[in-house]
């Protein structure tokens, strides 16, 4: 199951969180509607959408827009539903202004059948009105825009976040809000929709919907009056609009009402749809532009596309790029020695395999002695990014590639040791490598420069300082307390 199985045609609707497309399933050549919801843009909790899909997948009725399947493509959810090519009853009203009683009865009968199915399953529609009654190109009637939130089956952009639309809302829905009403609320809305279909608009629609909202529970129920209408339809509407939901009949009872029971075969809904399509072709010229244009589906592994180069190795390394290179080198070359630090160099240790204290330092990317042979860890391109390098301690640092570690030298005291270059600056370079932030590195660099200056001013200062540290080391750092 993937988006490749469908050929996407034009965008046919826009919702808050996604666009609806007409599409063809390639294997079956059948036309479907696909709602594409960008999950990363949607503020709706994914679990609510999933709940909605589970709900839809448990419904199977000829009077309800059918759900087919869902799949995930990148960050979008594609929901495949039945395509209703005939538009909505609200579209019919736009063109024909009002419908005759026979046509209305034909539509309302199937609305009741759809509701009967939903209600038997203990579900509510919550938003019955002409805009949510769709027509297939074969002239069948289907309920849409239902479900837990109505989000998925929604065919049009909702302007208010209310559940339901005020003109069609049952009094108990307004008074008790979300909890205290049942399936009878849909019956009220069906009554209002009946009035809407035969007159062109629901009662009170000349007023501001938010202002009349609290009038509905106070007012007497609307009535269908006038000589234009038969007693049957007036009676049907009167039943639907009984204020007390307990006394209002159920959908199964209403299906026995004369208004919907004796429907003439002369109803030609296809002609009405055709005329509507012609009317729309004249009056609505522009196609809908999707809010979130579809991007080609690229299969990719997210974790490989991390926006940040994290460092996960627990060994020291300079940055991830180098870490990666280092890892491959470590795996491939046996002559690379893991870094050995002063702390691990006891009296007898021989660090001779190390070319220089610097090249054994953790970061292969900087070398204090550019003339020293490149270690296997320093591939060309990395060393070339020399802007990050610490200051060169002194030209004398170059011969650091002697066979001895400074620690070794300190202990043997047989050969002259340059305490500034071999010991102090070496340690500070280690510190430089361990520093994470550029500012810390800068501080260490300053310290190095300062020591060079002090040594120039007071030759021997470094040696004395190191001796002090070594004495302390022998005494044991923990024993110092002042």
């Amino acid at each position: 199951m993937s988006s490749n199985e469908y050929e996407i045609h034009q965008c046919i609707g826009k919702g808050n969180f996604g666009d609806v497309y007409k599409a063809t399933q390639k294997s079956s050549n059948s036309v479907v509607a696909i709602k594409v919801i960008n999950l990363d843009e949607s503020e709706e909790d994914i679990s609510v959408l999933i709940q909605e899909i589970h709900f839809l997948s448990k419904l199977r009725s000829n009077y309800i827009t059918r759900y087919y399947e869902t799949f995930i493509s990148d960050m979008s959810m594609w929901i495949v539903m039945e395509y209703c090519g005939g538009g909505s009853c609200a579209d019919l009203l736009k063109c024909h202004k009002k419908l005759n009683e026979e046509t209305t009865a034909f539509i309302i009968r199937d609305v009741l059948r759809g509701l009967n199915y939903l209600h038997e399953e203990n579900n509510l529609h919550r938003d019955i009105k002409s805009a949510n009654i769709l027509l297939t190109s074969a002239g069948e009637i289907k309920l849409a825009d239902f479900g837990v939130s109505g989000e998925i089956t929604m065919t049009q952009l909702k302007r208010n976040t209310f559940v339901g639309t005020p003109f069609w809302m049952a009094p108990e829905v307004i008074v008790r809000q979300k909890t205290g009403y049942n399936e009878k609320a849909d019956i009220w809305s069906t009554g209002i929709t009946t009035i809407e279909l035969v007159t062109g608009s629901p009662p009170l629609s000349q007023y501001d919907p938010m202002k009349i909202l609290f009038e509905i529970p106070k007012k007497r129920p609307p009535l269908l009056t006038g000589l234009d209408f038969s007693e049957n339809i007036k009676d049907f509407v009167r039943y639907c609009l009984i204020k007390d939901p307990k006394k209002r009949p159920s959908s199964s009872t209403l299906l026995h009402h004369k208004f919907v029971k004796n429907i003439k075969r002369s109803v030609n809904i296809l002609r009405l749809i055709e005329e509507k399509d012609e009317w729309f072709a004249k009056h609505q010229k522009y196609a809908k532009k999707p809010k979130y244009p579809l991007k080609p589906d690229v299969e990719k592994n997210d974790d490989m596309n991390s926006l940040i180069k994290w460092e996960f190795n627990t060994r020291n390394s300079f940055n991830t790029r180098i870490f990666e290179m280092e890892q491959t080198l470590l795996e491939n070359s046996p002559n690379v020695i893991p870094s050995v630090r002063i702390s691990s160099a006891d009296q007898n240790v021989s660090v001779s395999p190390l070319k220089s204290p610097v090249s054994q330092a953790k970061s292969p990317s900087f070398s204090i002695a550019p003339t020293s042979p490149l270690s296997p860890l320093t591939p060309g391109p990395v060393t070339s990014s020399s802007s990050e390098q610490p200051p060169q301690s002194s030209p004398k640092a170059a011969p650091l590639s002697q066979e001895q570690s400074p620690v070794d030298a300190v202990h043997r005291k047989s050969r002259p040791v340059n305490f500034l270059d071999d010991v102090l600056l070496y340690c500070l370079e280690g510190l430089y490598n361990r520093a994470r932030a550029p500012s810390t590195k800068a501080t260490v660099r300053k310290l190095m420069q300062n020591f060079m200056e002090y040594e120039a001013e007071q030759p021997g200062l470094t040696q004395a300082f190191i001796e002090e540290v070594l004495i302390l080391k022998n005494v044991g750092i923990s024993s110092i307390s002042r």
């Binding site: 199951m1 999950l39 990363d40 994914i46 679990s47 999933i50 899909i53 589970h54 997948s57 448990k58 199977r60 399947e69 869902t70 799949f71 995930i72 990148d74 960050m75 959810m77 399953e121 159920s250 299969e299 990719k300 592994n301 997210d302 974790d303 596309n305 991390s306 926006l307 940040i308 180069k309 994290w310 460092e311 996960f312 627990t314 060994r315 020291n316 870094s339 630090r341 702390s343 510190l431 361990r434 520093a435 994470r436 932030a437 550029p438 500012s439 810390t440």
Partner: protein, 338 residues
């Protein structure tokens, strides 16, 4: 609706017996499947009326009691679950109603259906656990299973069964509804009974962490987001203390969560943050965790400077981000010597 009741079984016992007969015929198959399906559908509708009444009649406790006894003694629930696929689409939902109503039935403190499922016919539970293996009936089984695990004994029965671990496979099913429904079940199994779960997580730390980490690395956006969300829920549970301590000491976990922070999805970043914050805020961090945090200090600071959460309108989130950023800034700038 009187016409429906012509030549109908008189008593609840007769009704259940008649239903069992039709199911047996369905099971055998043959040409008359549709006829048997319709018969089953009709009997199930009548059972629904006995259990819940209709417009004219209220449910009668003695009738329900007779019905329940007959259901247990004839293993009717087993017959129904075993042949669920052969029942028609809407009848399957009536099976859900029968199950959930019987489950809720209590005599004193005893729940006879729960007792029956655990000691009488545990095969039913096994079938339900394997529900997601059929894309046709997976959702129905899932719904019943979740009704069952509201009872701790049944939840325990499932957690100790090796079949439980199949849920980590089911949630990756290519059929979206099956995968997501199995996830709801998985979620309920490890969140409903807090004490049971804390014990389970403590005993199965390695298996569980490996399994959920695999889901977090899924390429399916929904699987990824839901599994992180589930993990976040688990780590918020104080009872899961043992699990938490181990989880937040494991560098592999930290690594996966850091990858979420750097995911291109804004929501995954947020979900990741809700776990990441505990790695940082934990008072006694293990040295290896600390090492990774220190190593990436600049990365984190850069990340939090671009961490766009204003659209979420969540002042707690902003406070938490600021707190975590401060904690990160307090981390040492110098790495530890290995």
């Amino acid at each position: 609706m009187a016409f429906l009741f012509k030549r109908n079984p008189k008593t609840p016992q007769d009704l259940i017996r008649a239903l069992n007969e039709q199911i047996a015929k369905l099971d055998l198959g043959g040409d008359n499947i549709k006829k048997y399906q319709d018969e089953c559908a009709r009997y199930l509708k009548q059972i629904k009326v006995i259990l819940h009444g209709d417009d004219e009649n209220d449910p009668q406790p003695d009738q329900i009691s007779l019905l329940a006894h007959e259901v247990y003694s004839t293993d009717c629930l087993y017959n129904l679950i075993y042949n669920l696929k052969k029942l028609d689409f809407d009848s399957r939902k009536d099976v859900v109603i029968l199950f959930s109503t019987l489950l809720r039935r209590q005599i004193g403190n005893a729940s006879p259906t729960v007792e029956y499922l655990i000691n009488g016919k545990p095969e039913i539970l096994i079938w339900l656990i394997k529900g997601p293996e059929s894309s046709e009936t997976g959702l129905v089984c899932g719904q019943i299973l979740r009704d069952c695990i509201k009872f701790e004994v049944i939840n325990r029965f499932i957690l100790v069964n090796p079949l439980f671990w199949n849920y980590f496979k089911y949630v990756q099913s290519p059929v979206f509804e099956i995968a997501t429904d199995a996830f709801v079940s998985l979620h309920d199994l490890v969140t409903t009974h807090k004490k049971l779960v804390s014990e389970f997580l403590a005993n199965n730390y390695d298996n569980f962490t490996t399994s959920i980490n695999q889901l977090i690395q899924s390429n399916n956006y929904v699987t990824k987001r839901q599994s992180v969300r589930l993990l976040a829920e688990l780590v918020l549970q104080r009872q899961n203390q043992y699990f938490l301590n181990r989880y937040f000491d494991d560098t592999n976990n930290l690594k996966l969560i850091m990858l979420l922070l750097s995911n291109k999805s804004k929501n995954l970043q947020i979900e990741g943050f809700h776990i990441f914050k505990f790695f940082v805020a934990k008072p006694k961090k293990s040295q290896r965790i600390l090492d990774i945090l220190i190593k990436n200090k600049e990365n984190f600071i850069a990340f939090f400077q671009n961490f766009n959460i204003t659209s979420f309108n969540d002042s707690n989130l902003i406070d938490e981000r600021d707190y975590i950023l401060t904690e990160i800034q307090k981390l040492p700038d110098i790495e530890r010597i290995n």
